[in-house]
Amino acid sequence: MFYREAGQFKTSYTADMAIFPLREDRIGLAVIIVCAYALALTGNSFLLQAVMIPFLIFSLAAIGLNLLTGYTGLLSLGTGAFMGVGAYACYKLTTLFPGLNIVLCILASGFFAAAIGVVFGLPSLRIKGFYLAVATLAAQFFLQWCFIRVPWLVNYNVSGAIEAPLRTLFGIPIVGATATPETRYLVVLTMVIGLTWVASNLVHGRVGRAWMAVRDMDIAAELIGIRLLRTKLLAFAVSSYFCGVAGALLVFLWYGGAEYDVFNINQSFFILFMVIIGGLGSLIGSFMGAALIFIMPIVLGMVVPAVLNPFGLGVSAATIEHLRFMIVGALIIFFLIVEPHGLARLWQIGKQKLRVWPFPY
């Protein structure tokens, strides 16, 4: 009824190639973005600090991994470590050059992650699938070891942890203990929107097509002139850049500090699960997957005790965590069986139904 492409005629290829060709989609997106900014005005610090900021950051990491795994078909289990590289690089940058704008530091730290990503992506020319996953595990364990054993990375802190120093943007603190959740939220939101826009530009153009071609049939891609090594390494670089920025945001705009264990293998897996559940090869799916995986334990933590406590059954935080693992594992299997394209496909089907509503077909 209100979601129709009827009457919207495209008169140029440019208009037809727009990422959101439908007027309704563009309006919907605008509404979502306005609402997201408006959230900062509600002043609900818990919502911003405990839900929205981490949700956005994990979405960004999931987008990064999706570019590699979903679009290029290269399985990586080193996401956590690449996020760590971004975080530690950002820490070194901002402590070496305290005058440098922190937003620039965060954006620059992604390049370090990208460089490391390229190094560990080199084997991808010769191996794929399970073998590549093991190769990226090497990155995961080696880099995590570096975070522990190279004291230079943490400026020789005895604690072995990095801590976000006070940094301001236009005179307002955005990083450090005195930064309010509102300002941090606005910074994260803006950066995530900007980078998502960039990712969307990439996947809809020449680069994205080359990635998907490599994913779907690498031999044929090579025979039409796509250079495999270059394409795969570019995917590793861009993916790791996004993960690196997400890692820097995680430490500087959410935790406020971190040690090596934040970037462990479970982190890698949970980002991967966000991508699988959200939908391999879908940017919007990355947001949905992040929402499901990240927000589910929060909901569990509220619902399960509320259900069980009246029966006199106490539920510990550890039990919730165990339940989370179980449910996430079961969800992965469920989605792979029922809808391998994840939440993104369900979203698409929903939109299709809406398009023809009130008729079934």
Binding site: F130, F141, I333, L336
Partner: protein, 318 residues
């Protein structure tokens, strides 16, 4: 110069001057290698019969050990607990076949691999939910496994052999021998090899895929239980063992995914080089290189020979 000396000369001088230490390190490497090989073996079994890269094999090791100890903690006698655990592994095999493999038959390898990631996390959550997350002691004595150690006077020093390690090596060799006979001599073993070659062809000659899968997952579960008992006897039983169990992956890469001898040789190579590396070179970079050395070895090896030591050469066709 100093650096070069401490990398290329000093460790070898140390090896020569204290051969007892070298033997001790080698022995520990071999034992670790046997256990890696045992975990890798479970993996090879499943891969051969169903073409699934079972990432959850490592977790099955921990899950089996945890179940065994968990039952015992609930007051079940040790041997009964062992039998119950074997029963649990059977139920797990049936459940995996019904819930995961059967609906995903004919899906791309990557999908099946990711499904085993899901299985991994499900088992972690499930195991901890039932038996609790705190580390536990393996019931070594109750299972009549040897304890203590023998010190041998070798090459001018005492070399210590833990009895449990010797038992581990013997039991692992036995299991490997049994599996080898099982594969080559029995009807089921031949069916397994047929399935490994081609699912469709096996189906067409009347082999039940579901039955075969239950059998291999059960066999892999038993192998996991044995590996779990042995690892558990050397340290605590908890999901932290997962990291150790993951080392079976570089072993597989070294040995090739489909080769049982490959799993054994790969396991021994990784085990020994890890211990030697850690003991003689680890201190140069602050120690703890055991966590990644195996992966880097596997990575370098992949670049040189992607199909593994015993794997078949891959020819691409279009």
């Amino acid at each position: 110069m100093n650096m070069l000396y401490s990398i290329f000369v000093e460790p070898f001088v140390l090896m020569g001057s204290a051969p007892d230490l070298l033997i001790q390190t080698l022995w520990e490497g071999l034992v670790a290698g046997v256990l890696y090989a045992l975990i890798a073996l479970g993996f090879v079994l499943i891969f051969k019969a169903s073409g699934v890269f079972n990432f959850a094999q490592g977790i099955m090791v921990v899950f089996a050990a945890l179940t065994l100890v968990g039952f015992h903690e609930m007051g079940v006698p040790a041997l009964l607990a062992l039998i119950l655990t074997i029963g649990v592994m059977f139920v797990l095999a049936v459940a995996v076949e019904r819930v995961v493999l059967r609906p995903l038959v004919n899906q791309p390898d990557a999908i099946l691999l990711m499904a085993t990631f899901g299985l991994t996390y499900f088992l972690i959550g499930f195991g901890e939910l039932i038996f609790g997350g705190s580390p536990k002691q393996m019931i070594t004595r109750e299972l009549y496994l040897p304890q203590g150690s023998t010190d041998l006077d070798l090459l001018g020093g005492l070399v210590r052999f833990q009895h449990i390690d010797i038992a581990a090596a013997v039991i692992a060799s036995l299991i490997i021998a049994i599996l080898a006979v099982f594969f080559s001599k029995t009807r089921i073993g031949r069916a397994l090899r047929a399935v490994a070659d081609s699912h469709k062809a096996a189906l067409s000659v009347g082999i039940s895929l579901g039955q075969i899968w239950v059998i291999v997952w059960f066999a892999a579960g038993i192998v996991a239980l044995v590996a779990g008992i042995m690892w558990g006897a050397r340290s605590d039983v908890s999901f932290a063992l997962q990291i150790v169990a993951l080392k079976a992956l570089p072993v597989l890469i070294l040995g090739g995914l489909t080769s049982i001898p490959g799993a054994i040789v790969g396991g021994l190579i990784i085990g020994v080089s890890e211990k030697l590396g850690e003991f003689y070179w680890g201190s140069l970079v602050g120690g703890g290189i055991e966590t990644w050395l195996a992966y880097i070895i596997a990575l370098l090896f992949l670049l040189y020979r992607p199909q593994g030591l015993f794997g078949d050469k891959i020819i691409e066709r279009i």
